[in-house]
Structures are given as C-alpha cells and as structure tokens.
C-alpha cells in the first residue's frame, strides 16, 4: 500500500516536466510531418512537370527524418537524465527529503520500488504515446499522398521494422518487446545503483562517483567479455541461455548493490 502512495508522490512530482516532454515530442513530430508532406509534394510536382519521377516515397523516409530521430533522442536522453534526477532531487539541500524518506518506518526498498515503477511508467507512457502518434502519422501520410495522387510504397510494419530506433522500440513480437523493457529496467537499475553507491561514498571518499563507476563498470563488463569470448564457441540457443543467465545475474547484482547501499551504507 505504501508503495502505491509513494508512487503517487513520485508521479505527482514528475507530472509537469513529463507532460512538457510529451507535448514537445508530439509537436516536433507533427510539425516535421507537415514540413515533410509539404516539401515532398512540391518536389514531386516539379519533377512530374519535367518527366516521370524515378523514386517512390515510403513512410520510412518520414521517420528517417532528422527531426523525428531527434525527438526520440531527446525523449531517451530525458528518461536517462530523470533516472538520475529522480534520486538526486531528494538529496538537494542537506539531503532534506531523502532524510524524510529514510525515516519512514517501513522497508527502504519501497522507496526504490516506487522510483523504479515511476521510471517504467514514464518510459511505457512515452512508448504508448509514440505508437499512437506513429499510427496517426501513417494515416495522415497515406491519406495526404493519395489525395495528391503521389504513389507510395511499403507498409507501416515494414517502415517500423527497417528503422533503426523504431525496430528496437517496437520489435515484431510482443514478447521481444517485453524483453526489451526488461533491458530498460536493467539500465535504470544500474543508474539507481550508481546513484545510491555515489551518495553513500561521497562522505567517505572524494572519488565516490569514479569508484561507483569503476565497480559497476566491471560488473557490466565482465559478463560482456565472457559473452564475446564464448560467442563463437556456443550455439545460438546456448547463447540465448547465456544471455538469459547474464541478465538475471545483472539484475540480481544491481538490486543487491542498491539494497545494500540504500539500507546499510547511505549517509544523508
């Protein structure tokens, strides 16, 4: 129950900046759509006057546009930064609010859980808004070019699948999508572990951030190196198993470190 209440507080604190981010994302994309439709139509008309255009437009051209990619980049950067800020904001001043959180007579990991849940809600929220925006953009795209009698090729699914970022964000199988979310969680866990470690060590050593990065860096690097070493000795299914174990290992390690530093080492 406390987790839900904590989640409520965290979500309330991020609502304003989050809404700004989403509006920014949607506005940039739809403006770029407008610009794209307008410029492509003009160009097509011009070529059509002097001959037959030798190219066919696809939805991929739109989502390949720089503004589109930039808007996604900004959203990703915002999420990464907020994963740090969601903790560091509580350490503002002389660790004011963090002190209140740590004094709560309950499991400290509830605070950790609430922040993680908030981050995932934000990420999934962005992915949801983006998917709906994409579908709307596709409708506008095809509708407009049909009305302009300009041929268009390729399906919506194809455009998504061939786009670098979108194929990762929206893989062809929903199970893969869930697995990608697990990877996102993992990234957030490591950011959280870093922050908690840094906040616990900063009073003991000036090298806190570097030390934290070193420890977490090795924790991330070692499995990656073993993977590359084994990669050409194992079969695909064995590799998958190795990756699964690696992920589980990473997750438990991150949670274990976070828990240890949050409950025993954190110093406000």
């Amino acid at each position: 129950m406390n987790l839900l209440k904590l989640l409520g507080w965290e979500v309330e604190r991020m609502t304003k900046p989050y809404l700004i981010l989403i509006t920014l994302l949607v506005v940039t994309q739809f403006t770029w759509l407008g610009v794209f439709l307008w410029s492509e139509t003009n160009m097509y008309e011009e070529i059509r006057r002097t001959g037959t255009p030798d190219y066919v437009l696809t939805f991929g051209n739109y989502i390949g546009g720089v503004p589109f990619i930039l808007s996604i980049g900004v959203a990703v950067a915002a999420m990464l930064l907020y994963s740090f800020w969601i903790w560091y904001r509580d350490f503002q001043g002389r660790g004011t609010f963090m002190m209140r959180l740590l004094l709560m007579p309950q499991q400290r990991m509830l605070v950790f859980g609430a922040k993680l849940a908030t981050m995932m809600l934000m990420v999934l929220g962005l992915l949801s808004v983006q998917w709906i925006a994409l579908k709307l953009q596709y409708i506008a795209f095809t509708g407009w070019f049909d009305s302009q009698m300009i041929p268009v090729s390729g399906t919506f699914e194809q455009a998504i699948r061939f786009d670098g970022a979108l194929s990762v964000m929206y893989p062809a199988s929903f199970v893969n999508f869930l697995i990608h979310q697990v990877l996102i969680v993992l990234v957030i866990l490591y950011i959280f572990a870093f922050v908690l470690m840094e906040r616990s060590l900063w009073q003991r050593t000036l090298w806190a951030p570097i030390l934290a990065m070193l420890i977490l860096g090795t924790l991330i690097l070692v499995p990656v190196l073993t993977f590359y070493f084994l990669e050409n000795r194992l079969f695909m299914d064995e590799l998958m198993l190795l990756i699964l174990l690696g992920l589980i290992g990473w997750m438990t390690a991150a949670i274990w470190i976070a828990r240890r530093y949050l409950t025993k080492k954190l110093s406000v």
């Binding site: 409520g8 979500v11 309330e12 949801s128 090729s153 399906t155 929903f174 199970v175």
Partner: protein, 366 residues
C-alpha cells in the same frame, strides 16, 4: 488520493498505447493442416516450410508438421531459441562446437560419422572426426608442407577416399586459379597435393559438402570413385579495349574420377540443378520429371520417369524427392524414393486467414 489520479491516467495511456501495439503485433492467425494419405512414418520428423509473400513483399513462413502449423517469422528470442534447440540434437553439438571456433570450415557426413576440416586463421588446419559421441582431432600446423598453400586458397569441398579426407581447392585467388586436391594423411600427419590439368576450367563446389553447420546432412559413402562436382569456365572478355577474365558456371553433370584423376562429364545435356548425393548415388531431377541416377562407384548411369505432368516445387531430403503441387486450398505433396512414389500428403488451409494466403504460398521441404 488526488495523487492517484495522475497514476491512473498515466496507467490508462500505457494500457491503450501498448494495447494497440500488442494487437498490431499479433501473430497471424493463419492455420494449416497436414493430412498424410499414405505411409505416415515418413512424415514423423519431417517439416514442411511454407513461404508466403504478400503483395507488399512481407515474408511470412510457417513450419507445418503432422501435429500442426507454427508461424516461424517474427519469433521472439525465446521461440527462436527453442526452435533452434529441437532442430539440433545433442549428438552433433559437441562436434560442431569444436568447429565453430574456426575461421573457415567445411564438413561432410559419412556412414561412420561426420568429418570436418577447418582452418584456424592462417595458423593451422584441423581435421575433426565424430564417430558416435567422441570427437578426434588432428592438427596440421603451418610447418606441415602444403598447409600454408591450402590455407591461402578457396576450398571447393571435401571427399573421402581410402579412409583419407581430401580437400579440393583452387590454388591461390585471382583469375587463373588452378584446381588442386590435397590428401590429408592423419596418421602420418602429412598432406600430399596434386594439381589437375583442367585448362581454363575449374572445380567450384563439391556436391554434398556443407559450408556451415547444418542440422541435417545426407550421408555419403566413403569410397565412391566418382565425386560429383560443379564446374566453372573462364573466358576472357574484351570490352571497349579492355579485356578481363570472367567466370561462369558450366551446365551439365560432372564428377571427379578418383582413379583416372580426371574430371569427366557424366551425361551430356542434363543438369544437376536439383540433385542430391546420397550414399553411393547421385540423383538429379531433370526438367521433364525424369531422374538421372549415377552409381558413384562404377559410374553407371540410368534414368527413370518419376514425375509425370508438370513439375511443381521439388526438393531432395537424403534420397527422397518431395514434390509439391499447389491445389485450390493448399497443396499435395508426393514423396518418391528410388523412382517409386512411397507417400503422399495433403496440405490444407484450415481457416480464413490461411485460405487468403493460399494464392501465393510456396511449399518446400528441406
């Protein structure tokens, strides 16, 4: 509880957004059914691959077995792993694991087990043998005479004769590569090379040799006299004052005669486009539905009429010929062995989604 409104609102957005995404990503519902009309045990572990491409070129593939159809495109990582896992049985894993570390490898399957020849960078050539469970290894280092040359040239394929593994290779890269054969004497740890006088022709591939790991490989006898090969021909072409050498595949059925050490054409105006090397025979299906059969020990040739009427999509698995002819709502697949029809089965689209796909689906058994 005002705060909970924010959470609920965000939750709703997520459910709507990801809900639409999940629905969009739903696997296709097309379902197919395989009804075996005769000789069912042929189909026990046999899978039929159904290729289906939409107008927009979307590829979708199904695996169809006696116990149902399964879509095999857009598999999740887990499904891919599981599909791969039951395709590769454990007996072969050890063998191919050793090969997987090599930079270049070829393997063949003989009655007494798999043989693989691999190259580890330019350091050494290794011959692997899998008989039963254990894998034996013979290393031919850089110091062994001839190994450097072999490692520096493209390989056409392998064959076994008098118990020794042979590698047919093109000596050196570049236009006028000459074809050579290397015999690996594993006990004496020696390699003996011979070159073949083929003029401006060359052996490009040896039938039955697998380039990479393949779950199923046909077994080839270890003492065939004739080794079926593909040939290429080099012609110098001059265009606009410049002349360069171009190489084309030669049509026809060729084999290397181990005794005479010559490459001979087994039969004129036949082709090996759709053929299989199985035990001591080469079987090649011709346009008119007849099968050319060559006894690789004696070189004796014979033909037999197998498919009468138009030839649909065909493929060989071992010495069995699978012939698929599309029908209104699916396809009929006949199986021939030694020229006789030994089994037949019917592929049927069982639901609307599948029926819609029938018009441009191809059926292929491998």
């Amino acid at each position: 509880m005002k705060r909970m409104w924010n959470v609920a609102a965000l939750g709703a957005v997520v459910i709507i957004g990801l809900g639409t995404f999940a629905v969009d990503m739903r696997d296709t519902k097309a379902e197919w059914e395989l009804a075996v009309t005769s000789n069912p045990e042929i189909w026990e572990e046999q899978t039929i691959n159904l290729y289906y491409n939409t107008e927009e070129g979307d590829k979708e593939r199904f695996d169809l077995t006696t116990d149902g159809s399964r879509v095999t495109t857009n598999l999740s990582y887990i499904e891919q792993a599981l599909a791969y896992e039951d395709e590769v049985d454990s007996s072969v894993r050890g063998f191919y694991r050793q090969l997987s570390g090599l930079t270049f490898v070829q393997s063949i399957r003989t009655p007494d087990g798999y043989i693989g020849v691999g190259q580890n960078g330019n350091k050494e050539i290794i011959v692997f043998r899998l008989n039963g469970e254990d894998v034996t290894k013979h290393v031919f280092g850089k110091d062994v005479n001839g190994s450097a040359e072999i490692m520096d040239s493209p390989w056409a394929g392998l064959f076994v004769h008098d118990g020794n593994i042979h590698v047919i290779y093109r000596n050196g890269y570049g236009g006028n590569a000459e074809t050579k054969i290397a015999k690996f004497d594993e006990d004496a740890k020696q390699i003996t090379m011979e070159s073949l006088e083929l003029g401006d022709e060359a052996i490009s591939t040896v039938r039955g040799t697998s380039w990479a790991f393949r779950p199923y490989m046909a077994t080839i006898a270890a003492d065939n006299r004739f080794i079926p090969v593909d040939m290429t021909e080099q012609t110098t072409v001059t265009e606009g004052g410049e002349s360069y050498v171009s190489e084309q595949d030669k049509v026809g059925v060729y084999a290397y005669d181990v005794d005479t050490k010559q490459v001979i054409e087994l039969t004129p105006d036949a082709d090996m486009w759709n053929s299989t090397v199985y035990d001591d025979r080469l079987i090649a299906l011709q346009e008119d539905g007849t099968e050319l059969v060559v006894d690789l020990k004696t070189g004796k040739k014979s033909t037999r009429q197998v498919i009468d009427g138009s030839v649909g999509t065909t493929s060989y698995v071992g010495d069995q010929l699978y012939h698929a002819r599309p029908t209104k709502d699916g396809a009929v697949i006949d199986v021939y062995q030694d020229g006789k029809a030994i089994s037949s089965a019917v592929v049927k689209a069982t639901n609307e989604e599948a029926k819609a796909l029938v018009s441009n689906t191809e059926y292929y058994v491998d």
